[in-house]
Symmetry: D2
Subunit: 374 residues, 4 copies
């Protein structure tokens, strides 16, 4: 089997998840290429060496600039902070690499567009890692929607709730700085809900918005000095879809008790679908069947469900990181078949355009259109 | 025990629920007055006689004008359609009756204000029937919030979902006419969510809104002639509370599979609360308790919970209509204690002001302030 | 409409529930007779007068012996303690009354048989009040089973869990005395699970059993004197059905946190059904439908479900006491149609035979047959 | 880091799960040894080569006899069918290997005892793979029980429900032959419930039993010839624990809709605990807290829970196979610390003794003692 050499930039939370995906995919799926964990890249060499050893990478490097130009590298996998996505992607594009990038694609619409253009101009395969599309239950939802099982869509109701900022003593980390993080719950969480909305219901054309910062300053890390929180703690939006459907989309880091409550409910003319990431292996489905109708809980495990042929028998659940394994599987398959995978940088731009419209709507206190031509 | 003679205007769905409440309250609670089901009023005499007999009323009458002036009537209970609330309430106020009125108080802000002023000017006891405040689990939520169990409130998330209009062949009934119904999901359902929001979180000061009619015309009842649907099928809103909390509030008649899904979630600095009318006897509570933390399902049944001392032992649930029984109980108690019960016509006006702001926000495509001085 | 005069013996928990049923049934259903709450009977006259007034009875009496012979009484409703069922029923039978009796029918098989024989010999209509058969979700389960929706039955799994005896300081009340109560969880709770098993799956032919008393002595009420607990705290049984199905049936008063957890699960060749009294308005159903299969939660509310045409629209739940209202409705209908209602005293005898077999099995440490000929 | 060379015998479902555990453990945990996937063993060389490549084994072998004696092998991991456990374990013991064996330990008590004696006599480290003990929620349950959070235990209610045999056309595979499989649901599923019962509540001293085969003959694989089903489809048991607690334990392959419903509920004097493998990342806990009491759903994810420090942040779930990873982690740690891990072959013998007693109880139709001295 032909091999593909991977270079991974970033060794934090996402770096660990991507490493696992590249390492595991060939043991559970029939892959067209064998991914080789060639080199992992980061700034702190001590930590990097530990990570390389633990995650199974052959080499390590502290210079992404050197790395992306290496001839033996096929895939550049970008897990660096948001403000680094653009320069790395431009360099990788110039070197004609396959580019796989964590979400959100960039901190601004302008950056996102530059990345898309560079990838297109150089004929690169590009993919954006919105891993929740590859939760089998979400993929099943898409199949059911595609087959018209719940009819014409009327409502999308997306909430992504976490609670890790509720403690006022939680420090003012870089994720709460505008310059580095771009935004708060908006880019981190609402972007997921928007990606799922676009994947499942279609393009969003208009938005109303509300951004809220509940705690205005926090102590700097390991310090008593207070510093301002520059990003939103919560982002709320009403949306109109191209199709005529309407939606509420909400993300917050202040929903005490909600750890990773990425939930959506879709109501259509013939039925409804509900998903909640905290019960990732389940999909709720309602279809009208007279007196026997009810929301049913489908256990999306075992043969017959998207991606699940690779894992275990019915009733044996999979975990969070498997969604990344499915994502790299689809990237490998797209490369083999000469297709552009989805979501890709265009989806990243479109997602960013919605986020941007929500910000504008919140500031202007009025509905804003989302540009559809890019 | 002193008796209070009740006159009920309306014998439909709400008339039946109110009849039951008046009939049952003394068998389950220690009441300061014995309510007497004196006279029921409606237009169709044949149906009215049946209702009077079945629901246990002593007399019937087809003229509310005659009725509200009768000396032997103590309480006028208004269950007539929305456009009748104003004239009946004005007459009842002129006769110094205790006035008990189904929600929404009126079809417009102006009407609602007139009703409040008339009741005040005549020194009447007035109460608005927002029965869900009297679901024991909701009353418990209010107690927990009042005791600070979940700390400072950050988020309110209210959804009232039904699905009875999904069928395009469902006829264009009077509830879908602007002149008679005032509005659609907005006044019928969103008003409940707004009442609960005001009860539990406080006054709403600003709103963004979206009103949507999915099916624009329907056949007239028992006819093939199509007529326009003049009211909203769904009403969505982002809201800001006086306290600094933010919220999403949504109501629809197009959520297939949701029959009476009046749900709210409140996130505070120390915990969260969730209620869903479809499981009316339960309240979900989260409070931070380290590794043992989790959303718990409190069975709000048996001794120790609001109103439940009147009913059955732990684990024996109550039904929908009991919320009305609790409401009339509180009315009787307020009368006995010379207090104005809540919610009353002032709450009705404030609720209407929020609904009005949502409509204005939807039309103007911009955030609108909710007047706080009335 | 013809009237039926009711005499109720007992004014405690069950007396209150039966009073409500007789009072309410005509307001929600088309009844063939109007039940008249004629006279209520008990020993403590002071309490009795209060109950008569509160529950709406025309008269009260402290002598059941006088009462059951009165010519103006049509129905004798027995809510007295278990050891009083036999004498009252014999007297009522001798007077040719319609006899309605709370479960369990009697404290022993012999007593139960005497009651059945007396009722038969005098040509009385007799009914046993196993109210949970009239929970609409249970009645729906029966319909689904009858229609073969889940195929041939393999498993019945019944648990009736409460926790009111967990506190060791809870006093040694009469319910814990063998002579008065007959048994503990066995007759109080397991009898319900067995009635549901017989109703839904059929006759039980063999049982294995385990009876357990966890706390062997308790203080007498309002005393520090300890007295032995003479009945079982928990009753467990394996059962074989005539049909070939097998089951586990368990009841306990020591399941901390379970308040009224009367749950059953039935597995058949084509599907499964689950019911839990704590969510009485729901029924879970699984039927095989390929990848869309899942346990669905049917909201058994609104038109189209057993008994629910009498109450409220979809999504508006009913409460515990409504099951009694449905039971007296069925009694009235059976009387009008000249049918013997079910469950009746024969069911009471059969239920008692199973309980007796469980006791014998526990004592003998071996499987016991349940006599089928009575 | 010192390396440990692993030899795995078996490449089916369990072989795949064990391979993954050995491969993954070092990427997520700080391990005292680096496990090396040295050699995988099986009969069909073609399939074996594919498995070796896919799962990441360095070598393959078709002779377990050769393998277990190799000097470079440290750990013999037995995933072969039940009737092969004994000969492999005896040989591995003779070669002083660390022995890791899939459950159930053997097909009979006598075989299990032989294996234990051989491991002991040769001073081997031995471990039995009952992976569900290593579900973090189960380990948390054990911690809570150990800390007395739910007080003295009264009830254990274990059910392991699957449905893969419901189809009468499912073939008569080897798992339905007595000689090869030993038993049906009894050894396959009930053994899991019994292991959890022993782990969480303690030793079982007496049992009542019922074994049932619903479908008596089935077609041989790829054939129309019918052959008898020789093992139980369902195994039910009442049990008494040494501690005084009582239990129901049930396993079946005929619970339509239940895919991997390995659930237990434990009721104690101060609270209750519920676990269900289908929602493996959750634990339900009830502790008495007055009116705020309720069953809470703990999300056993993120820091602060057993094994979860190795994986992802709160709300990011793990999958079925991770329980094996935790099991081999504990084996490596025990080896490093010179301890005998649990469960080990002694647990295997005790488990087998309970299964044997259930069989004897079912046959004899009477309660049977479980020998406690081994």
């Amino acid at each position: 089997m032909r091999k593909l050499n991977i270079a991974l930039i970033g060794y934090g939370f996402m770096g660990r998840a991507h490493s696992n995906a590249w390492r595991q995919v060939r043991s559970f799926f029939d892959v067209p290429y064998e991914p080789v964990l060639k080199v992992i890249c980061g700034r702190n060499e001590g930590e990097l060496i530990k990570a390389a050893n633990k995650f199974g990478w052959q080499e390590h490097s502290t210079s992404w600039e050197d790395l992306v130009g290496r001839e033996d590298i096929d895939v550049v996998d970008i897990c660096a902070p948001g403000d680094m996505h653009l320069p790395i992607a431009l360099a990788a594009a110039a070197s004609k690499k396959i580019i796989f990038c964590e979400k959100p694609l960039a901190n601004t619409v302008a950056e996102a567009k530059q990345m898309l253009e560079a990838a297109r101009a150089n004929g690169c395969v590009h993919m954006l890692c919105h891993n929740y599309r590859r939760a089998p239950a979400v993929a099943l939802a898409r199949e059911l929607l595609g087959a018209g099982r719940i009819g014409e869509i009327y409502h999308y109701r997306g909430t992504y709730l976490q609670d890790w900022l509720v403690d006022p003593d939680f420090p003012r980390v870089w994720r709460l700085e505008k310059a580095r993080a771009g935004s708060g719950a908006l880019g981190d969480l609402l972007s997921h809900s928007i990606d799922l909305a676009r994947y499942l219901v279609g393009e969003i054309t208009e938005v109303s918005g509300l951004l809220k910062t509940f705690i205005l300053e926090r102590p700097l890390p390991q310090s008593r000095t207070m510093a301002p929180v520059e990003v939103d703690d919560a982002a709320l939006s009403l949306v109109k879809f191209e199709s005529g459907a309407v939606g509420t989309i909400e993300a917050t880091r202040f929903a005490t008790g909600r750890k990773n409550y990425n939930r959506f409910e879709i109501n259509g003319s013939r039925g409804s679908i509900v998903f909640n990431l905290e019960r990732m292996n389940e999909l709720e489905l309602y279809v009208d069947e007279g007196p026997e109708s009810g929301f049913r809980t489908i256990q999306v495990t075992g043969k017959g469900y998207p991606y699940m042929e690779g894992w275990w028998p019915r009733g044996h659940i999979i975990g969070y990181e498997h969604t990344f394994t499915h994502t790299v599987l689809d990237l490998l398959r797209a490369v083999a078949e000469g297709r552009l995978p989805t979501p890709n940088f265009e989806d990243g731009v479109r997602n960013q355009l919605v986020l941007d419209a929500v910000e504008r709507a919140a500031e202007s206190r009025s509905w804003q259109h989302v540009p559809q031509t890019i």
